[in-house]
Symmetry: C2
Subunit: 142 residues, 2 copies
């Protein structure tokens, strides 16, 4: 589907969130393993199974046109030789707006395949409380 | 904490849901790995981190006294040598009642440790639609 190779799970995760933020379907397709047992749960949504079903939903989301910025915090990594599990908080915001949106907690699982590290599970669900906002940029005093 | 050994991830999962159903704190404590990076997300709740925090919450839940039956369906397993990821639908019901409760989708991660397979991640979140109810028991016609 694409020749992008992610040498580490962290590279695959960075590409996943860049693709999500930019609405970049090609990169999103490169991130996911091709397998009938990959799984994706969007917050409050049904569990999607298999690369075709998972990518079709990402395509619909990206075609919806709403662009969101996402900042990842609170990452916890459980890493093995072949499998890595990343737990993160996703903090979404609308570009140019300061209101905070609900936070999302996500469990991401990556597998080391012949074609580098690929995502096999993304499980996102609503977390209590608002998204974390970036610390105020320090004011420069003249 | 306990000398229970789970030879497979499936054994650990079975023990997890039995403990949950029975409100059996000792078995629940045996299921979880002892590590500051184990993670537990109850549906709609905050992410709990570390064995102490995770087990303290299970203790509170069990002390609450509400007992629920749980039936696991739609299991998908992604298994490696050292790590296993199980995705399931949890179908809860109140013993003796027929009303269905909201379904929960869960991602469970198990690690092969020196003391057998242990749970390191449980991420549960509300799934759309009601829990699956067991098929009607066939009526015996006389």
């Amino acid at each position: 589907m694409t020749d992008k190779i992610f040498p580490t799970a962290q590279d695959a995760e960075a590409a996943f969130y860049e693709a999500l933020e930019r609405g970049d379907y090609q990169t999103m397709a490169a991130v996911w393993a091709e397998d009938e047992d990959v799984l994706c749960v969007h917050p409050g949504g049904p569990r999607l199974r298999g690369t075709d079903e998972v990518l079709a939903q990402w395509k619909r989301i990206f075609e919806g046109g709403q662009r969101l910025q996402v900042r990842i915090t609170q990452q916890v990594v459980i890493a093995g030789m072949m499998v890595a599990v990343h737990s993160v908080q996703e903090n979404f915001s609308v570009p140019g707006e300061t209101r905070s949106m609900p936070a999302v907690v996500a469990t991401n699982v990556y597998l080391r395949t012949a074609a580098g590290w690929r995502m096999v599970v993304h499980h996102g669900s609503p977390a209590p409380g608002p998204a974390e906002t970036p610390r105020d940029t320090p004011k420069i005093l003249h």
